[in-house]
């Protein structure tokens, strides 16, 4: 293929920090790769780690989870729970052989438009490095 591989990424972002941060990146006219589909949730603590599995099954090449910095959660402690969960989910995915570059987590606050750009660039570049996800995608099943 002569065309460069463009990954399909899903980002679960929290309403209060990262979504506002991404909004700020937009209003500040910061340019960043368009490979990311953003799904807004109210808190990172609301993101079930099975969302990540489901996204990978349904055709995502990588997943990003992003929320408020520890201590800044709108609901006081949601991101602390999320941090524990995704620490374990990341280890589990890595253990079964899914490349760790396919899953990222970040803290981006409402004022960090520039950091959001960096996070997205890292995520997209790493997903480009590892190529399309085929391990357990639903439509790639070879009967």
């Amino acid at each position: 293929m002569s065309e460069q591989f463009e990954p399909n990424l899903v980002a679960f972002v929290c309403n209060w920090c990262t979504y506002a941060g991404a909004d700020l990146a937009g209003t500040s006219r910061i340019q960043y790769p368009p490979n990311l589909s953003v799904i807004r949730v109210m808190c990172t603590g609301r993101i079930n780690p099975l969302f990540v599995l489901n996204a990978l099954q349904q055709g995502a090449d990588g997943v990003l989870v992003s929320g408020c910095h520890p201590g800044d959660c709108h609901y006081m402690e949601g991101n602390y729970y999320a941090r524990r969960r995704f620490t374990l989910m990341k280890d589990l995915l890595e253990y079964v052989g899914v490349d760790p570059k396919r899953f990222h987590m970040s803290w981006v606050s409402a004022s960090e438009g520039a950091k959001w750009k960096e996070v997205v660039e890292t995520t997209v570049n790493e997903a480009k490095e590892v190529g399309p996800f085929e391990q357990f995608q639903r439509n790639k099943i070879n009967w």
């Binding site: 099975l50 589990l92 052989g97 357990f136």
Partner: protein, 327 residues
């Protein structure tokens, strides 16, 4: 050791109490090396109870497996206790259920049986194939003695014990109302060698290892049904709206199923090895669950089922939990 007289006497005394509904123990199975769970309501039935190296079943499952029917109007709910015989690993399951408030402490009577390790049936049946008569077994100073029709056969314990018992750190019940005999000494220090071995491989090798096993899964859900920690009334696997995991049997759904189940046991798995024992296609499920047990122990210094007063891992946090993977 394993004083059956004492065990039966305690069982008799317990079931004759008015506030006890039934007692769950082990009895000889119908053939070979099999052992069945034994539910007794009458003192006379206690004579069938046994405790031997063949008692690998984790009876803590039955505490939560029991169907809770709605109480008819005008009737009081049955608040009688359930008595349960536990080995070391089973007691951790009970403790973890208590921590999660799946059961109430006052609704169980725990009869602790310090345990020197139970056998892995696959290993035993390899040594003594096609044994159909009922076999008894006992521990004898580093050996396990099987009473076969051609006489007694002693086998070194390392050759037939289940893997989980060879690396067991909790042979004695963590908590018990009655301890049947003196405690045994834990000899092993679990270093997670099996997990480390797989971790050392390349990602592609790891995936092909798990892919082979996951694609052989027939999704019978035996692992879920036998698991003492899998007691959600509304399991995601049974749910259709939302459908977390489709019911079709293919590598995508099977992987999602196994990862979801492993994740749901993160910080809860007490390593009784029942999932692996009942798996009809021999998927090394403990290798998957133990990875998370290892991470939980290293990263959060938490061990499920050891402290009845602790909080569940994923329902608690520390502000200084490590976060070196976060961008």
């Amino acid at each position: 050791m394993a004083d059956l007289e004492k065990l039966r006497a305690v069982a008799k005394e317990t079931v004759s109490r008015d506030d006890v509904k039934y007692l769950i123990g082990w009895r000889q199975g119908t053939y070979g090396f099999r052992v069945s769970p034994h539910f007794i309501t009458e003192p006379e039935e206690a004579d069938k109870l046994i405790f031997s190296p063949l008692c690998s079943n984790n009876l803590a499952t039955y505490l939560t497996l029991v169907e809770k029917l709605p109480v008819p109007r005008g009737q009081e709910p049955d608040t009688r206790k359930i008595a349960l015989m536990v080995k070391g690993c089973d007691s951790r399951a009970v403790v973890q259920q208590l921590v999660e408030q799946g059961i109430k402490r006052e609704s169980v009577i725990i009869i602790g049986c310090p345990c020197q390790g139970v056998v892995d049936l696959a290993k035993v049946e390899e040594k003594f194939p096609a044994v159909l008569e009922q076999v008894e077994a006992r521990w004898d100073d580093g050996k396990i003695v099987f009473k076969l029709s051609e006489g007694e056969k002693a086998v070194p314990r390392e050759e037939v014990l289940a893997d989980k018992c060879l690396r067991c750190r909790y042979p004695n019940p963590v908590t018990a109302d009655t301890l049947l005999w003196e405690k045994v000494e834990a000899e092993s220090n679990d270093e997670y060698a099996d997990v480390g071995e797989l971790e050392g491989k390349a990602p592609e090798e790891r995936w092909s290892f798990w892919e082979a096993y996951f694609s052989s899964c027939i999704r019978c859900y035996s692992c879920r049904n036998v698991c003492p920690m899998c007691y959600c009334e509304d399991c995601i696997l049974d749910r259709l709206n939302p459908t977390w995991v489709n019911r079709s049997n293919n590598i995508s759904e099977n992987t999602a199923f196994h990862l979801a189940r492993a994740f749901h046991l993160a910080g809860r798995c007490i390593e009784c090895g029942e999932c692996e024992r009942v798996c009809p296609v021999n998927i090394p499920l403990m290798k998957l669950n133990r990875k998370l047990t290892k991470e939980v122990r290293e990263k959060f210094e938490y061990e499920p089922g050891t402290d009845p007063d602790s909080k569940p891992l994923q329902a608690s946090y520390r502000p200084n939990d490590q976060e070196n993977f976060i961008l």
